[in-house]
C-alpha cells in the first residue's frame, strides 16, 4: 500500500512539473524583449482610442509600447491580481477613485521628483480637482489625464414652457421647474434622481456646505448640511417630480420624444450619446452649469490619472510616455477618439472646446471638486447608496437613516 501512495504522490508531482515545464517553454516567446518595451494598461477598448497615441510615441522616441486593454467590468479584479503578484505594467491608467487604495497598498511609484522637475507634467498645468487625486502625504503618485464633471442637461423647449428658458439657476428654481414639468400628466416627471449614482447625494451636500468628512477625519453625514441636501432630493420623490424607481429606460426614451424626464445631471459623455441616439430633439436641448445651492454650485469631478507601477524597470521611459500622453496634441487626439475631457487646462483653448455644450463643462470644471480621496471611499459610497435607497425607495426616515450611515462610515474610517 505504501508503494501505491508513493506512486500517487510522484505521478501527480511528475504531472505538475511536466505541465509547468510545458508552460515555461511557451512563456519564453511572450516575455522576450519586455525590457526594451514599455507595457501599458488602459481601460476599456483601447485599440482605436489610445493606440494612435502610442504609435506616435514609438515614432518619436523609438521605444516600443505594448498596450493591453482591460475591460471595464474587470478592471478592479485585474489590478488586484497585479498587486498580489507585484507584476504590473510600466504605466497604468488609474481611475481617480482607485488612487487612494492602490497608493496605500504601495502599488504605485512615487514620481514626485519627475513631476517637480518637468514643465510638461507640473501640477500647475492641470485642474486642481484632478491634481488633488494624485497627491498623498505631499508626494505625487500620478499625473492627471482626463477629467470629467457633471452639469445639468435640459430640454429647452419644455423648460421654456415651464418658464425657465435658460434652465433653472438655483435649487429653488430646479424644484419649481421639476414640479411644473411633472404636472404634465401621469408618468411624466421633471428631474432624474439617480439612485445608484455614488456621488449624487454627496455632491448636493457639498453645495449645501457639507464637507462629508471633515478635516479631523470625522464623518459629518448626519449634520444639518448633509441632511438638508438629502431632504431636498427626497422632496422631488415625495412630490412626484422624480420617479422613485429607476425607470430602466435609455436616454433616447426618457429625454427624447415627449421628454418623460426633461432634466438630468450627467457627465460630458452624454453629449455624444444624445446626438447619436435622439435625432428627434435636435436643437431642443442644452447643457448648463449646476443650479446654485445655498453655498455653491460645486460639481463632482473624476476621470483618470496615469501612474507608474511600483516595480517598473523603466521609470524614466514610463514618465516620458506619460509626458507624451498628457501633451496638448495627444489630449486633442484622445478627445477626438474618446470624448474624454482633457485634464490639462491649456488644451481648453483649442477649437473643439469652443463648442457651446462642451464649453459648459469647461466652465463647470473650474468649480468642481473630487470626493474625499481616502482609501475607504468606495465602501463609504456604497454605504451611502444603500442608505439613499432606503430613503428614496423604502421611504425610511431621513435623519435616522443618516445617523446610522454616519456611524457606519465612521467605523470604516477608523
Amino acid at each position: 500500500m505504501k508503494i501505491n501512495k508513493l506512486m500517487l504522490g510522484t505521478t501527480s508531482l511528475v504531472a505538475m512539473s511536466l505541465l509547468a515545464a510545458c508552460g515555461n517553454s511557451g512563456d519564453e516567446g511572450a516575455s522576450e524583449g519586455s525590457s526594451d518595451e514599455l507595457s501599458v494598461w488602459v481601460m476599456g477598448d483601447g485599440n482605436e482610442v489610445t493606440q494612435p497615441l502610442f504609435d506616435s510615441f514609438t515614432e518619436e522616441t523609438g521605444i516600443d509600447v505594448n498596450a493591453q486593454s482591460i475591460p471595464w467590468s474587470a478592471v478592479h479584479d485585474r489590478l488586484l491580481t497585479a498587486v498580489a503578484s507585484g507584476e504590473g505594467p510600466d504605466v497604468v491608467q488609474m481611475g481617480s477613485t482607485y488612487m487612494a487604495e492602490f497608493v496605500d497598498a504601495g502599488a504605485l511609484m512615487d514620481i514626485t521628483e519627475y513631476v517637480e522637475g518637468s514643465d510638461e507634467i507640473s501640477p500647475d498645468n492641470f485642474f486642481e480637482g484632478n491634481v488633488e487625486t494624485t497627491v498623498f502625504d505631499e508626494n505625487y503618485y500620478a499625473v492627471p489625464w482626463y477629467t470629467e464633471t457633471r452639469a445639468l442637461y435640459y430640454r429647452t423647449d419644455l423648460l421654456e414652457e415651464a418658464g425657465y428658458p435658460e434652465g433653472p439657476a438655483t435649487w429653488d428654481e430646479l424644484s419649481d421647474a421639476a414640479m411644473k414639468l411633472s404636472e404634465r400628466g401621469d408618468n411624466y416627471y421633471g428631474f432624474t434622481i439617480p439612485i445608484n449614482e455614488q456621488t449624487f447625494g454627496p455632491m448636493f451636500a457639498k453645495q449645501n456646505g457639507s464637507p462629508i468628512i471633515d478635516d479631523e477625519g470625522n464623518a459629518v453625514m448626519n449634520e444639518p448640511e448633509f441632511v438638508e441636501a438629502i431632504e431636498y432630493l427626497n422632496g422631488f420623490i415625495e412630490s412626484g417630480a422624480s420617479p422613485s424607481q429607476d425607470l430602466g429606460i435609455e436616454i433616447s426614451q426618457s429625454f427624447g420624444g415627449e421628454g418623460i424626464n426633461p432634466m438630468f445631471i450627467s457627465g460630458p459623455w452624454m453629449i455624444t450619446a444624445i446626438q447619436d441616439q435622439t435625432t428627434d430633439i435636435e436643437g431642443k436641448w442644452a447643457v448648463r452649469t449646476l443650479p446654485e445651492g445655498p453655498v455653491s454650485n460645486v460639481s463632482n469631478t473624476g476621470g483618470a490619472n496615469l501612474a507608474v507601477w511600483n516595480n517598473s524597470d523603466n521609470p524614466e521611459e514610463a514618465v516620458q510616455l506619460i509626458e507624451h500622453l498628457t501633451s496638448t496634441d495627444s489630449m486633442l487626439t484622445y478627445y477626438e477618439n474618446s470624448s474624454s475631457l482633457p485634464a490639462r487646462m491649456s488644451t481648453w483653448d483649442e477649437e473643439p472646446f469652443q463648442d457651446e455644450n462642451v464649453a459648459v463643462f469647461g466652465e463647470q470644471l473650474e468649480n468642481s471638486e473630487h470626493m474625499p480621496v481616502i482609501e475607504e471611499w468606495d465602501r463609504v459610497s456604497q454605504a451611502y447608496i444603500s442608505s439613499f435607497e432606503q430613503i428614496i425607495v423604502g421611504g425610511a426616515d431621513v435623519q435616522e437613516t443618516l445617523d446610522n450611515l454616519n456611524q457606519e462610515v465612521q467605523t470604516m474610517i477608523d
Partner: protein, 292 residues
C-alpha cells in the same frame, strides 16, 4: 485481473489538479479568514494582522449578510424544484418523438445555456423593463390588464424575476443530462409494460422516473450546489439591488472581497457558505439513501 495500481493512475491527474487549484486555495482562505487582510496586506504580508474570530463575529451580525442568506434560501427553495421539474418534463416529452422536429426542439431548449451572459443581460433588461411600452413582458401582460410590474425594481418581485431568468438558463444542460440517461432505458421494458396494459402515464411513473434515479440524484445535487452559489444573474442584472433584495451570499462575498478589498471578511463568508453547502449536500444524500 484488475491491477491494484490502475485506479491510482486513473485518478492521479484529476485529483492532483483539484488539490492544487481547489483544496489548496480553500485551506488558504481558511487561514485568511482569521486575518484582516486587505489590499495593502496582499502587497505586503507584514501588514496582515491576525484577528481571531473577529471576521466571523462581525459577519454574523452583518444585516446584509443575513439578508443574503434568506435571499439565497429563497433562490434554492424555488429554483431547484422548478429546474428539475421542467428539465425532466422537457426531456421526456422530446424523447417521445424521433423526428427532426423533436431534435430541433432540443436545440431550442438548449439555446439559453449557450447565449453569452453579456447578451443575456442586455436582452433580459429589455424584457424585464418596467415601462409598458418598452418591456416585452409588461407589454404582453398589459394586454390582459395586468401590470405593469417592476420586475427588477420592485423589492417584492425582484427575486422572482431572477429565478425566472436562472431557470430559463439552466433547463438546457439538465435536460441534456436527462436525455442522455433516457437512452439508457431499454425499449423492452416499455414493451413488456404495454403488454401488461400499463397506460402511458404509468409507464412514465413506474419505468422512466425510477430508471432515471441516478441522473435525478445527480441533477438534484448539482443544482442545489449551483443555486447555493447563485451569482451571475444578480451580478449582471441587479447588482444585488434594489435594497439588497436580490443579493446572494456569493455576490456578498464578491462585493466584500473584490470591490471592498476586505479579503479576510470575504473569506470568512466563503467558509460559512462552504460549510452550508456541504451540510445541504449531506442532507440530500441521506434523504436519497432513505428513499431507496
Amino acid at each position: 485481473m484488475k491491477s491494484k495500481k490502475a485506479p491510482y493512475f486513473f485518478i492521479a491527474p484529476a485529483i492532483g489538479l483539484l488539490l492544487t487549484f481547489s483544496i489548496f486555495p480553500i485551506i488558504l482562505a481558511l487561514v485568511i479568514s482569521f486575518t484582516d487582510m486587505s489590499l495593502a496586506g496582499l502587497a505586503d504580508y507584514s501588514r496582515i494582522n491576525f484577528t481571531g474570530f473577529q471576521n466571523y463575529q462581525n459577519i454574523l451580525q452583518d444585516s446584509i449578510f443575513l439578508k443574503s442568506i434568506t435571499n439565497t434560501l429563497f433562490y434554492v427553495i424555488f429554483g431547484v424544484p422548478l429546474v428539475i421539474l421542467f428539465s425532466l418534463t422537457i426531456a421526456i416529452l422530446i424523447n417521445m418523438g424521433r423526428s427532426r422536429y423533436f431534435s430541433f426542439m432540443r436545440v431550442v431548449f438548449y439555446s439559453p445555456s449557450i447565449t453569452n451572459i453579456v447578451a443575456v443581460a442586455i436582452v433580459w433588461a429589455f424584457l424585464f423593463n418596467p415601462s409598458q411600452s418598452i418591456g416585452l413582458i409588461n407589454r404582453v401582460i398589459g394586454m390582459v390588464g395586468i401590470g405593469p410590474i417592476g420586475w427588477l425594481t420592485d423589492t417584492s418581485v425582484s427575486k422572482i424575476s431572477l429565478v425566472i431568468l436562472a431557470v430559463w438558463r439552466s433547463i438546457g444542460i439538465n435536460m441534456l443530462i436527462f436525455s442522455a440517461a433516457l437512452q439508457n432505458i431499454p425499449r423492452s421494458m416499455y414493451e413488456a409494460a404495454e403488454l401488461d396494459g400499463a397506460t402511458k402515464w404509468e409507464q412514465i411513473r413506474f419505468i422512466t422516473v425510477p430508471q432515471l434515479k441516478f441522473s435525478t440524484s445527480f441533477v438534484t445535487i448539482t443544482t442545489i450546489i449551483g443555486w447555493l452559489q447563485f451569482f451571475e444573474e444578480p451580478f449582471v442584472m441587479t447588482e444585488g439591488g434594489p435594497l439588497n433584495s436580490t443579493t446572494s451570499v456569493a455576490l456578498f462575498i464578491y462585493r466584500n472581497g473584490f470591490q471592498n478589498n476586505q479579503f479576510g471578511y470575504a473569506a470568512a463568508g466563503s467558509l460559512l457558505l462552504f460549510v452550508v453547502i456541504i451540510c445541504a449536500t449531506l442532507v440530500q444524500l441521506r434523504l436519497q439513501r432513505r428513499a431507496d
